[in-house]
C-alpha cells in the first residue's frame, strides 16, 4: 500500500538531483535544504505545520469527492471565496468588538466555499456539465472577484494604494497554537476533518455509498444510491473544507485579505489527496510531506540558489512519479508485436 508513494519519493529525489545538477546548482545541498532543513529548527518545523493545515483540510475534503468520481479541481476558487466571505466581516466592521467575530468569520468562509462549489453540483446534476471544467473556470472567476474587491471597494483607504484590506482586529485572528510561532488552531480544524473523513469514509454508510459510486457506478445505481446526492455531497464537502481553509488563511498568517491569498493551496491539495492514496490517513502523511517540500523549497531558493519554479517542478515530479509507480505496480508492460491478438 505504501510502496507507490515511497518509491515515488525516491524517484523524485533522483530525478531532481539530475535536474538541479543540469541547472548548475549544488544538487546535494539543494536536496538537503529541500527535505532535511525544515526539521533542523523548531521555527521552520512550525512553519511546516502552518502550511500543512490548509493542505490537509482541503485535501481531505477533495478526496471524499474524488473517491466518488466527483472531480472538484477548483478548490482554489472555493478557498478564495471562503477567504472573501470571512474577510467581509472585519472589512465592514473594522473595529467591531463583538466576541462572535472569529466564529462568524469561519462560518461565513465555510458557507461561501460550500455554496461556490455547489454551483458546479447544480450545473452537473441539472445540465450534465462537467464539474472538472466548471470548478476550474469558477476558480478563475474567483480570482477576478478577489482582484475587483481589492482594487476597488475593499481597498484599505490608508494602505498606500496597495491592493489589500485593512489589517484585521485581534478578535478576528485565530489563536496561536504554540507560542513564538505562526502555527494556529487551523491545524486542529484539519486534524478534526481528518478524523471526520476517516470515520465517514471507512465506517459510515454514507462513505460506503460514495466509495461504491466511485468504484462501480452501476452497482450504486443497482443498490439505489442516489447519484445526484453523491455529486452534491462530494462537491459540497470539498467546498466546505476549502472555504474553512480560506477563512483560516486570512484570519491566520495573512491577517488581512491580500492578493497572495491565491498561493495555490487548492491545486496543491489535489496532489496531496492523490499522493495520500485518497485515504484519510495517507493524506495526513502526504500533506506533511508536501509542506516539508514547500518550506524546504523556500530555504533551497536561498541557500542553494534554486529558482522558485524548481520547487514546483519537484512537486509536479512527485505527482508524476506517484501516478507512474501506482500504475506500474498494478499493471505490467507488454510489448505487442504487429499482429493483433
Amino acid at each position: 500500500m505504501f510502496t507507490a508513494p515511497v518509491l515515488a519519493l525516491v524517484l523524485t529525489c533522483l530525478a531532481s538531483l539530475v535536474l538541479f545538477a543540469t541547472l548548475g546548482k549544488p544538487a546535494g545541498a539543494a536536496l538537503y535544504a529541500l527535505l532535511l532543513k525544515p526539521f533542523l529548527s523548531w521555527y521552520s518545523f512550525s512553519e511546516v505545520l502552518l502550511k500543512m493545515a490548509p493542505l490537509l483540510l482541503i485535501a481531505q475534503g477533495l478526496a471524499i469527492g474524488f473517491r466518488a468520481n466527483v472531480f472538484n479541481i477548483g478548490a482554489e476558487g472555493q478557498f478564495i471565496v471562503g477567504a472573501l466571505c470571512a474577510s467581509s466581516l472585519p472589512v465592514y466592521f473594522p473595529d467591531g468588538n463583538f466576541p462572535m467575530m472569529l466564529p462568524a468569520m469561519i462560518a461565513f468562509g465555510a458557507l461561501g466555499g460550500t455554496v461556490y462549489a455547489l454551483i458546479a453540483a447544480a450545473l452537473r446534476t441539472r445540465f450534465g456539465a462537467s464539474e472538472i471544467l466548471v470548478t476550474l473556470m469558477m476558480a478563475l472567476i474567483a480570482v477576478q472577484i478577489l482582484n475587483y474587491l481589492l482594487l476597488g471597494p475593499w481597498k484599505d483607504p490608508r494602505g498606500f494604494n496597495f491592493p489589500q484590506t485593512v489589517m484585521f482586529p485581534d478578535n478576528a485572528m485565530l489563536p496561536i497554537l504554540f507560542d513564538g510561532t505562526r502555527t494556529n488552531i487551523s491545524l486542529l480544524f484539519a486534524l478534526a476533518a481528518s478524523v471526520f473523513a476517516y470515520l465517514m469514509m471507512q465506517h459510515h454508510f454514507r462513505g460506503y455509498q460514495l466509495r461504491t459510486a466511485g468504484l462501480a457506478p452501476r452497482a450504486a445505481l443497482y443498490a439505489g444510491f442516489s447519484a445526484p446526492r453523491m455529486v452534491w455531497l462530494g462537491l459540497g464537502l470539498g467546498g466546505l473544507a476549502a472555504g474553512i481553509a480560506g477563512a483560516s488563511e486570512v484570519a491566520g498568517p495573512l491577517g488581512q485579505l491580500q492578493r497572495s491569498v491565491t498561493s495555490g493551496y487548492g491545486y496543491a491539495a489535489i496532489i496531496v489527496a492523490y499522493v495520500g492514496g485518497l485515504n484519510p490517513l495517507g493524506i495526513i502523511a502526504s500533506s506533511f510531506l508536501i509542506s516539508v517540500i514547500y518550506i524546504g523549497g523556500d530555504s533551497a531558493t536561498v541557500s542553494a540558489g534554486l529558482p522558485v519554479a524548481a520547487v514546483e517542478v519537484f512537486q509536479g515530479l512527485l505527482l508524476f512519479f506517484y501516478l507512474l509507480t501506482f500504475t506500474l505496480i498494478r499493471f505490467r508492460f507488454e510489448i505487442d508485436r504487429k499482429v493483433p491478438a
Partner: protein
Amino acid sequence: MSQPALLRLSKVSKRYGTVQANHDSDLEVHSGSIHAVLGENGAGKSTLMKLIYGVEQPDSGHIYWNGQEVHLARPSDAQALGIGMVFQHFSLFETLSVVQNVSLMIPGKPADLAQKITDLGDQFGLSVDPHAMVHRLSVGERQRVEIIRCLLLNPKLLILDEPTSVLPPQSVRRLFETLRKLQAEGMAILFISHKLDEIRELCDTASVLRGGEVTGRVDPREHDARSLAQLMIGREMPNVAHAAPQPPGEERLRLNALSHPRASRFGTALDGIDLKLRSGEIIGIAGISGNGQQELAALISGETRAHEPGMIEIMGKKVGHLGPMARRKLGFAFVPEERLGRGAVPEMSLADNSLLTAHSRNMLSRGFIKRAAERAFTRECIQAFDVRTPGPDAEAGAMSGGNLQKFILGREIMLNPDVMLVSQPTWGVDIGAATAIRRRLLDMRDQGCAILVISEEMDELFEICSKLHVLHKGHLSPALNAAETTPQEIGRYMIGAET
C-alpha cells in the same frame, strides 16, 4: 492411430496463486473430429482453452501440434499454427460494418474481403451481409461473423466457447449444420458446452474435466445425458423433481402497458408490456438478450424510472416513479445479469458487498456500519449457498462467475423478499450450482415468493416456470402455459414469427 494427433496436450498444469486451474491435463484432438470439452464451471475448461490459444502459458507440460512440440506465447502464435477461437462474448465493434470488423484482423482490401465473406457464407451456411452494421445484426448473425473471421485465417482447429448459449433453437440447428460441413472439410473443432444433449448430438469425442483434471475421454453418443452429467460432477445427479406449485395467491407485481423509449441507438424500446405475477408462482421471460431484457429489468428494479407511476405496481402500490431503495422497502429484490460492477463491487470484500443491498438487515447503527453484523450475514450467506471462497474478506472480483452468482442470489434471497426479479440466473454457472440455484428459486416459490425470471436458457424456464412470456424487439408475447407450450412455439416467438 498411426497419424499423430493434430493437437496433443501432455501433462499440462497451470496454477493461479493458490488455485490449481489445471493439473496434469492430457488432451488429444484429431482432424475431422468434433471434440467436446465438458466440465463444471471452475473445472478448468476456460484455462485449458486459453493455454491452447496462447492467451496463457502452462507452468509445466507440453503442447504438440502435428507431433511437434510448440510454445504458444500469444494468440498470434496459435493463429499462425492454424488455431482459431470464437469466444462466448463476441468481440465486434457495434458501430462498424461486418467487413470493417473483419478487416481489423485480416489483411486485404475491403472489396476482396467482402467477396470472401460472401463465398464462405455460401459454402458453410454462414450467410451474412458484409456491409451490414454490426449493431443491426441478430446474435446468431454476429456469431456467424465471428466464425467467418476465424475461417478467413484458414484454421485447422476451431475452438468454440459455449456457442449455443446465446442462440434460439432454430439458430442452433443451423450452427450445427455449419459445424458438420467444416468437419467434413477435415477441420478439427473443440466444442465447449454444458448442454449435454447438444454434445451427444454433435460430438464424436468428449473430454471430461473435473476439478482441473481430465477425468475421462468418452464417446458421448454412447452415453445418455444423465451419465455424462455424472461423469462431469463426479457424483449422482441431484434429483430435480420438485413438488407441483400451489395455486398462486395474491398479485405482487403488475406491469400495466409499460412502454419506454430506447435510451440510445443500441437500446430497445419497450412497447405496451402487460404482466401479472402472483405470490407462489414463477413466471419466465424467454427471448434472446438484446430484445429489451436489460431495459425491462432496469424498469422493474427502479434503476430506470417509468414515465408514469401506474405502469409498474409492486405489492399493490404504484412504484413507477420510485427508485430501487424505495422498491426494496416494499419487499422487492433483484438479481441482475451482470455480477461484477452491478450486482457486486469487484474491488470490495464480500462483507462490504453484503452491505450493498442488505444494509437494512440491522447492519447500521446511526449510519455507522456494524462490522460484526455485516460479517455474520456474509458468513451465513457463504455457508447456506455453498459459496466457495476463503471468507467474508475475499474480494468479489477474485471469485469465479458462478460463485459470485451464488453469493448475490443468496444475499437477495436472505432479504426474504415478497417479489423477486432474477435476470439470467445461471449464466456461466456450472451444472451443479445451476441445479442448486433453481432448487432455491422453487423453494422460494413454495414459501410464497413471487418470482420473475428473465433467461435465455429455455430448458431452465421450462423446468421452473408455470407460465412463460417471450420478449422480442420490445414486445411481450401473451402468457403461455409452460405445461402446454413447446420449445418450438417459444422459438417462433423468439424470432418474431409469431406475435
